[in-house]
Symmetry: C2
Subunit: 246 residues, 2 copies
Amino acid sequence: MQFISEQHLADGVREREFTLGEIPGILWTPASASTSAPAPLILLGHPPLGLHKMYPRLVDRARHSAADGFAAATIELPGSGDRPRWPAVEQARADLRRALEAGEPVSDEIVDRLVLPLVDKAVPEWQAALDALLALPEIGGPVGYSGGVISVGTRLAVVEPRISAAVLFAGSFVPRVMFDEARQVTIPLHVLLQWDDEGNDRQSALDLFDAFGSEEKTLHANMGGHTGVPQHAGNAAAQFFTRHLK
Amino acid sequence: MQFISEQHLADGVREREFTLGEIPGILWTPASASTSAPAPLILLGHPPLGLHKMYPRLVDRARHSAADGFAAATIELPGSGDRPRWPAVEQARADLRRALEAGEPVSDEIVDRLVLPLVDKAVPEWQAALDALLALPEIGGPVGYSGGVISVGTRLAVVEPRISAAVLFAGSFVPRVMFDEARQVTIPLHVLLQWDDEGNDRQSALDLFDAFGSEEKTLHANMGGHTGVPQHAGNAAAQFFTRHLK
């Protein structure tokens, strides 16, 4: 992990860009984080639109996390942003768009091609990032994962024992096979669902919530469309992390 | 409205039992409530099990409300507690129990007989209580309604313009006709659903949430069975009232 830039935001949050091999990422640490008082960490998931495009929302989430005493970090997804393009996934995305525009049902086959390669490749990268981040003296456990592609968060919750709690955003198509993985999740979950999300299948999201094996899981459904998560829902997610990571 | 007893609880909350005609009720006011600083009011709904039986949970909710600066009040439901028995509704309850014990689906006809008379009779009583409570100098608006039989809360939200926001508990059977009323609700709603509620139809609860006409509505689903609403869910409901009634 190599730091390539550093700046201090107005509220004392330290923002550092880094690369992990070929993967760009950003780490935010609260002013309070130090070697003697390492901060717990929240991994900030995001949709595959590129870190540059997502930056305003990511930095906003990171600053809220920092205000609660958490470090936050994110990495670029494979095939997004400045990383090499990924023709197979782009083809699946084009097929999805075509199906949606034609008003056709989105086939399982398209969803599998769209999501599964991303999960398979992104999850080990997040784990490698976690190795590097937890080696920093100012970062400690426990670790939470928040948002992004719900199948990535689900797989991470299953395979990565260092993640203690997760906020998942039910806002993307879910391959059938992920329902079996969901049953293996046991960590506390806080699932956000935008009830009238135009690009999401509500019933599939409810079925996935039902499938999660966690004894403590909570679903918060709100109005406002895919990008309209209300502020109070963000606050409730932050309270969930404070309950479980502190 | 006639006060028949008064005591001060340990945290300074003033608890007064009253009667409104033949209807028993309880009013809790925070120490801060006064003629010059009247407290906003939360009406505490409850299932038809009688005020005596429900008292421990009601006083707990009232004290939490008082800590947030709210007065809280409740009245006995028709046919419950010390009020005259209501053979028709008791018959419906027996029929429901029989159907559940036999593992049969609960018919719309039973649900209608069980819930609709209660809604028709209870709602005007809550409105009369509201008239009397708002006439007290230490109680002001705005008013919230919380919990209890969801069809009672739904009807109240439609017909009672003095109620500005409601926390509804999706934990009882809902007559078909209430879905039409739900579409007429426009106030902010916070709906609690116990995901694995043994005595409740989850799909019907989700359909009812979908039907509510409110622009701001949020659904919080949790594990733990009918009576196992986790403490963080109660806190989130309290935050909803603080957002909307203060």
